[in-house]
């Protein structure tokens, strides 16, 4: 293998790998296809080509895989686009392991192109853009090296370094051109298939279940993945929102886990009202990211109305209904990879609920205590409160005591028989669920209504909106204050309410989020309206007219520039079109000769091997064939058009062929009439 060839093959294989990765980031490809392609790529990068002598066998295997994928698609267990992408990956893998010749190289690059296109259909991830660029660069270098290598005589080295400079310039121009095309090409959309959504990498982590069980192990607090993205109106314009995003509440505790007294579901609707609307509601446009992994709607405390939900699935985006469950939980009716919806919340403060508004079973549940609750819980609460009977003041007093006397930890003791007593009297450390449960139960032992709420605490400002991480998952207490409704009291130490993930990791995630937000705004959500904005910014002046000076009615210079460019483009298109229409058609004469031959064949006149049209014409003339007079001008005109530099004029071929057809018909009728004429004489 000559110098440079090895590098070219490595670049080719890596380019193919990045093309496959652009599909794989969607998380939708079957695991076995990921494994097969990964193994093939590693073997290819090691320089081994085990399929070099097994082309037919591996092609048969590919056929079998195609049949399997097709069967799965027909059975509905696999999406057609996903199946096509997986098959493209396998074709590429088979080519990677075959003999590296020019045809194989081309097939690897083209399958890479298909994979990148498949990745665009499957994924909207930011990292897709990175893989697209890497594929473009590596495949371009590999192609260019292949082109140069094919021109270098055998035995001479491939000039790798000399290639890089001009090629880098070319790729740079291509990227600029791609951006210009992307920005300016009109967004004409037939909308036959909707955009798909990608589940993203990794497992969704922030789930809502019907119960909250104390104990076990907690790792979610260290997870920096973003689960929620929201835009608020009015915008609080704070860097750290530090707000409670409630998902649901729990009112029954059995000593181990929280549940709800009422779990019935009402009918589904597109907009549900939890509390009557008031003025100054905070509007939220919320996106639940694929990492969220649940169907429970989340809103700023205290939610008033929720609805206008859209579920994004692999098959497209569609409007979905929502329904209310017990504990104030609202769920999407349809499952999806991600969701977006709108929510309206009351301004910070009380919820305004009255105990009489609650269903009877929930009223009772707000004071219920688990059987066998350690008697020390009530005694401790009474001692701390020291006669305080106002629910809100009592809750704040108990909360402050808990924050002062107990410490926060994510290292749990596992399942114990009485987790509340274990937290309060044994370990004296726990996480947010322990603090919230302890506060809620201590209030109830003193006859004050309270419940547990779960959701998220936090909100970091990113590009005009707020994001919430999986590590922001939190639990807190709602204490019912007569005349004001439920008020949030959080017993967890403030420093441990939000995400506990490493700061550096959070900063990295924040940076990624900023870039991804830009990617979504500038690339994924770029539309016709944005194009109009771009065009307006090019054509309209941004200068503020001076006072006492009438505004100029003349267009700005950039408008002239844009008009000049448009005129140049139109002129170029017109020139290209005229050139195309007036181009010489060297094969037209040949096609004409083919048509002549077809007509002659219908008259049962065929050319012998190697006989040209003019030779045939000469032969027919010698034989005094009746078709000869019609054929002679046709043959002469063919020769002039083919070799004499006089191409056939518009419609001339049709006219000549019509004359010839007429002569052929006449001859056929003559032959037929001779065949049916009765014999004039008989042999005796």
């Amino acid at each position: 293998m000559r110098k440079g060839t090895r590098l070219r093959l490595v670049l080719r294989d890596l380019g193919s790998g990045f093309a496959f990765a652009s599909m794989a980031v969607s998380g939708q490809l079957p695991i076995w296809s990921l494994v097969l392609y990964g193994v093939a790529l590693v073997i290819a990068l090691a320089g081994r080509r085990p399929f070099a002598n097994r082309v037919k066998l591996t092609a048969l295997l590919l056929l079998a895989v195609a049949l399997t994928l097709g069967t799965n698609v027909l059975a509905g267990s696999l999406n057609l686009v996903v199946a096509a992408c997986a098959f493209a990956g396998l074709i590429s893998a088979q080519r990677l392991l075959s003999t590296p010749d020019a045809a194989t190289d081309g097939q690897v690059h083209l399958s890479g192109l298909l994979m990148v296109a498949g990745g665009a259909a499957l994924s909207g991830e930011l990292i897709y853009g990175l893989f697209l660029i890497l594929f473009g660069v590596l495949a371009s270098i590999a192609l260019a090296l292949g082109v140069v290598e094919s021109a270098v005589p055998e035995g001479e080295p491939v000039p790798v370094r000399a290639v890089m400079g001009p090629l880098a310039m070319g790729v740079g121009f291509a990227v600029v051109g791609a951006v210009a095309f992307f920005v300016l090409f009109p967004r004409l959309n037939w909308n036959m298939i909707g955009p798909s959504a990608s589940p993203g990498l990794g497992v969704a982590t922030a789930g809502f279940s019907n119960t909250v069980r104390l104990g076990g192990a907690g790792t979610i607090k260290g997870n920096p993945r973003i689960v929620l993205r929201a835009t608020l109106t009015p915008d609080p314009e704070k860097e750290a929102l530090d707000a409670y995003w409630v998902g649901r509440t729990y009112d029954v505790f059995d000593g181990m886990e929280w549940s709800n007294a009422r779990a019935t579901s009402d009918g589904s609707e597109f907009m549900t009202t939890l509390r009557p609307g008031q003025k100054n509601l905070v509007h939220q446009h919320v996106e639940l990211m694929p990492a969220y992994g649940a169907r429970t709607l989340v809103a700023l405390e205290t939610p008033s109305r929720l609805g206008n939900a859209v579920a994004n699935t692999q098959m497209g985006s569609r409007r979905t209904q929502i329904h209310e469950l017990g504990g104030g939980e609202v769920r999407f009716r349809d499952s999806g990879i991600s969701y977006s919806y709108e929510a309206y919340s009351l301004p910070p403060g009380a919820s305004g609920d009255d105990v009489q508004d609650l269903p009877p079973e929930e009223q009772d549940a707000l004071l219920s205590l688990p059987e066998g609750l350690d008697i020390r819980v009530g005694q401790t609460a009474a001692r701390v409160l020291n006669g305080e009977r106002d629910p809100l003041a009592a809750a704040r007093k108990l909360s402050a005591w808990l924050q002062r006397e107990y410490s926060y930890t994510l290292e749990l003791s596992g399942d114990v028989p009485d987790p509340v007593a274990d937290f309060l009297f044994q370990r004296k450390q726990g996480h947010c669920e322990h603090f919230a449960t302890a506060l809620t139960l201590m209030l109830r032992t003193q006859g004050m209504r309270a419940r547990l709420a779960t959701g998220f605490f936090g909100g970091e400002r990113v590009t005009g909106g707020y994001v919430v991480r999986a590590g922001d998952a939190h639990a807190w207490t709602h204490v019912l204050v007569p005349g004001r409704g439920f008020i949030t009291v959080d017993a967890t130490p403030p420093a441990h309410r939000a995400s506990q993930s490493p700061r550096l990791l959070e900063q990295l995630i924040n940076f990624y989020e900023v870039v991804e937000s830009q990617w979504r705004d500038v690339v994924l959500d770029y539309n016709f309206r944005d194009q109009l904005t771009v065009v307006r910014s090019l054509t309209r002046s941004h200068e503020i007219p001076k006072k006492n000076e009438p505004p100029s009615r003349a267009p700005p210079p950039r408008a002239f520039g844009a008009a000049l460019l448009a005129a140049a483009a139109a002129y170029t298109a017109w020139r290209l079109l005229t050139q195309f229409l007036s181009r010489e058609r060297p094969l037209e004469a040949t096609r004409f000769a083919d048509a002549v031959e077809a007509q002659l064949a219908s008259a049962r006149i065929t050319r012998v091997d190697g006989e040209t049209l003019e030779a045939l014409d000469a032969r027919l003339a010698r034989e005094r064939h009746p078709l000869s007079p019609a054929l002679t001008p046709v043959a002469r005109r063919y020769l002039e058009a083919r070799f004499g530099g006089r191409p056939l004029q518009q419609g001339e071929a049709t006219r000549l062929l019509t004359d010839l057809r007429r002569a052929v018909l006449t001859e056929s009728q003559r032959v037929a009439s001779e065949g049916t004429r009765p014999p004039q004489a008989r042999a005796s």
Partner: protein, 322 residues
């Protein structure tokens, strides 16, 4: 009457529309099909990533055109030629190519509009270097081949399109008859004072004595070594390092048809080569010219040239590229 365009406009037009031919390669065709598919997908789904990919694919097409055009500019080509070109067998042919400014990549050179097949390539051509490109060309038949220009093609940068520029260079390449094995009898050698070896005594051969053998019937008695013959009791003749140099005049008869003439030319060329290698003098008698017998490679080249021109009209000057 058509108004004459100003010269600057003609220059602009010639710069914008250089005389090039463009051909889509096999991988380029598939690339265009995939681009079309991506375009359909983008229009169908409105997926911005597909629009981005489509923009990249179309930009690569434009960049291919620009970079290949840059490769073909500022080039100068001249023919170096071939030492000897025989019909139906590859012969080495050379061009010299240089570039005034910038670099060029992946250039393939071939003869335009000629029956010669084959091409030579240069992977990288830096500025100001006179690079000699060698190619193994093949000519289908004997005779003069009119060369009208050198075609320079590049598939740089991605191999999607092959762009060609033709440099007009008029010349003629003479193709000698096909080299075959000479199994025919050259006929009787010339007798008497013919050719360069007009002295019959020189038929004794030359060089040192290499051996003696019995005189065969009909052999020249002047080559008998009398003293050794006397001692041996039989007639022995002298054999020298260079045996006798005979003179042959090969003929190509008049009135042969095209196929027979080709076959005869090939026979005569093969015979001439064999006889000259054996040290004989060979002449040629054709309907068009007569070449006096002589020996050596120069004579062989003269004979081949005469055979190559046989049946073709000679130019006034002896213009040959080879």
């Amino acid at each position: 009457m058509k108004p004459r365009l100003p010269s600057w406009w003609a220059r602009v037009r010639s710069r914008l529309r250089p005389p090039r031919t463009l051909k889509v390669t096999r991988i380029g065709r598939t690339y265009l099909v995939v681009t079309f598919g991506v375009g359909l997908g983008a229009l169908n789904t409105g997926n911005n990533l597909l629009y981005l990919l489509l923009g990249l694919l179309l930009s690569m097409v434009v960049v291919s055109g620009v970079l290949s055009e840059r490769c073909l500019r500022y080039l100068s080509v001249r023919r170096v030629g071939a030492d000897a070109a025989f019909a139906q067998e590859p012969f080495a042919f050379r061009w010299a190519i240089s570039r005034g400014q910038g670099h060029a990549f992946a250039l393939t050179l071939s003869e335009a509009d000629s029956p010669l097949t084959g091409a030579g390539g240069v992977g990288y051509l830096p500025t100001g270097v006179d690079h000699v490109v060698r190619a193994d060309l093949t000519a289908p038949q004997r005779g003069p081949v009119r060369l009208t220009g050198v075609r320079v093609t590049t598939t740089w940068p991605l191999g999607l399109f092959a762009k060609t520029r033709t440099f007009p260079l008029e010349s003629t390449l003479l193709i000698y008859p096909r080299r075959t094995y000479a199994c025919q009898d050259p006929g009787a050698p010339e007798q008497g004072p013919v050719g360069d070896a007009g002295n019959p005594r020189r038929n004794d051969g030359n060089g040192d004595l290499s051996g003696l053998r019995e005189l065969a019937p009909g052999e020249d008695a002047r080559r008998i070594h009398w003293m050794k013959s006397a001692s041996a009791g039989k007639l022995l003749r002298v054999e020298r390092e260079h045996e006798e140099r005979r003179t042959f005049v090969l003929t190509v008869a008049n009135g042969l048809d095209a196929e027979a003439l080709e076959r005869r030319c090939e026979e005569v060329a093969a015979l001439a080569r064999r006889l000259i290698e054996e040290g004989h003098e060979v002449g040629l008698d054709t309907p068009e010219e007569r070449i006096r017998p002589a020996a050596g490679t120069a004579q062989e080249r003269r004979l081949l040239r005469a055979l190559a021109w046989l049946g073709h009209e000679r130019p006034r000057g002896d213009e040959e590229a080879a």
